[in-house]
């Protein structure tokens, strides 16, 4: 017996959870609950006070809190229930009923359980911590993940330090370079281990170039000085194997080191449920409906794969909400047994989704992926059962920017009809210009 019964529980009230809730409600799901561990809805958008959000979704440039507010208002107007300050601690599957059992807790209700017909995983991601980076040296104060520093500055109005070095050129690090400069700090440089930046080009332009902050590609921190408070860092150039080159060390005197070295989907709960995970993305494997290996459990947003733009998160979550509603209302459609496995190779690292049941896809299906290197003037080639589906010329592709292709159902069906087998294969790869 559980304490509560719901049709749909959405874990996480950030951009993915909000958009999924709005969409599920619009599609006819009625008994929805959003569970959010923070004191307010909106997730990380609340501390992303910079602009650039929403150009695809709302055709205007919004700041993070403004973008979140657009969705929060839809949740409020639709009277979609949500719980704040509530943490989901366990997720299990009831083999008998097929229900998902959610264990959550908060200060008011204590520990309680909810059974749900469908669950949407929308827990987002977290930053790769210093411990995962193997930086030698002492552990003085003054070393923060870029997002933590962003929280201190933008939410609490406190400055973490005055003289700053940033390791890693992820977007949050770039954004913080500008923020800290605005607030009177001196940002000495951004060091990036890779020979390319992990962030969006526009952030390099607007957050570094505008302020004359150097971006040191193929550089990393090799030593940390200071026992109580950070006194400085030593930065060295690295070779093609990412190993520091002796003799290239330069000491930077600073009181703050920000780490912006990648984001990791936060999937502890998915693991507890036994969802099949993709080692490349750190998220679940999903099919065309964004359904995981556990029936009725969907994933969207940064818990599925780390996105570059919140607009894409909202779009993806909209689809997850729609499909979860269809699952609850028994409208998922009839499968004909055809399965397309999406294989990524030659520079393409992964794809979401990774499996497509063509009978259950919409008229079009957006497949998103990232490349593993910086490419210039190459083609993105897509094949289905060995036949070229499309070939897109690309001036620039970079690991920091998500790529996408759109599969058209009519075209897909035409090609698979020519095959006797039920199993098919789409291959996405980087190729030289045709």
């Amino acid at each position: 017996m559980t304490d509560m019964k719901k049709d749909l529980v959405i874990i996480g009230g950030g951009p993915a959870g909000l958009s999924a809730a709005v969409s599920a409600s619009r599609e006819g799901a009625e008994d929805i609950l959003i569970i959010e561990r923070d004191t307010r809805l909106g997730g990380i958008l609340n501390q992303c006070i910079h602009n650039g959000f929403g150009l695809h979704t709302f055709k205007e440039e919004l700041t993070g809190p403004e973008y979140a507010d657009r969705y929060i208002r839809q949740v409020e107007d639709g009277k979609i229930p949500y719980m704040l300050d509530t943490m989901v601690v366990d997720l299990a599957y009831d083999d008998g009923s097929g229900d998902k059992i959610i264990t959550a807790m908060n200060a008011k209700d204590g520990l309680f359980t909810i059974s749900a017909k469908a669950v949407i995983l929308a827990m987002g991601c977290r930053e790769r911590p210093r411990g995962a980076l193997n930086i030698p040296g002492f552990r003085p104060s003054g070393i923060y993940s870029a997002g933590t520093a962003q929280y201190y500055v933008n939410m609490e109005g406190r400055m973490p330090g005055r003289k700053v070095v940033i390791l890693g050129s992820g977007d949050i690090g770039l954004i913080m370079a500008r923020r800290m400069t605005y607030e009177g700090a001196k940002v000495l440089c951004v060091a990036e281990l890779q020979p390319y930046s992990g962030g969006l080009k526009r952030n390099i332009v607007q957050c570094l170039d505008d302020f004359g902050i150097p971006l040191l590609l193929s550089h990393t921190v090799v030593d940390i000085k200071g026992k109580k408070r950070l006194e400085g860092v030593t930065i060295a150039e690295v070779d093609e194997n990412r190993k520091p080159i002796p003799g290239t060390e330069v000491f930077y005197e600073c009181d703050t080191l920000l780490l912006s070295c990648g984001l990791i989907p936060e999937n502890e709960l998915s693991g507890k449920l036994g969802v099949r995970m993709n080692g490349v993305t750190g998220g679940a494997y999903v099919n065309e409906s964004l359904e995981t290996s556990v029936p009725g459990v969907y994933a969207c947003g940064n818990v599925l794969h780390v996105h570059d733009l919140v607009d894409y998160v909202s779009g993806e979550a909209d689809m997850a909400g729609k499909n979860a509603a269809a699952f609850i209302l028994g409208r998922t459609g009839t499968d004909d047994g055809n399965v397309i496995n999406i294989k990524t190779e030659n520079g393409v690292r992964y794809s979401v989704p990774s499996v497509v049941r063509p009978a259950l896809m919409g008229n079009t299906l957006t497949v998103r992926f990232r490349v593993g290197n910086e490419y210039r003037d190459k083609d993105l080639a897509v094949y289905l059962n060995g036949k070229q589906l499309m070939r897109l010329p690309k001036r620039v592709m970079a690991p920091g920017e998500m790529e996408q292709i759109v599969l058209v159902k009519s075209k897909v069906e035409e090609i698979i009809a020519a095959s006797e087998a039920k199993e098919h294969e789409v291959v996405i790869r980087v190729e030289d210009k045709a």
Binding site: G52, H56, E156, G157, K201, Q206, R395, E401
Partner: protein, 118 residues
Amino acid sequence: MDIRELTCIRCPIGCHISVEMEEGKVVNITGNSCPRGAEYAASEVTDPVRTVTSLVRLKGGARPVVSVKTAGNVPKDRMMDVVAALKEVELEAPVHIGDVALRDVAGTGIDVVVTANA
């Protein structure tokens, strides 16, 4: 002829745009995928502008600061003047998205508005 290469920041796609200049005048723009890109490139080589997002202090709210932005673009070389002017501003809670925090910031003719409900 002078060619300026730049990355468009009008939207997150970040098109790589080439601007051909002759005697300080734009003669050709390539690489943009929308008219906004062409507009940005022309403006960026002649009169660069930026939206500034920052914070102002907030009295009586759940948090001591609230986020703001310039309601329009300001000249790129005036960004730090805008930020400096905002350091003098203190609002009183409650504030709402769109509330004016400061009119005509640093003489730019542009207002600064609140971007969060607090």
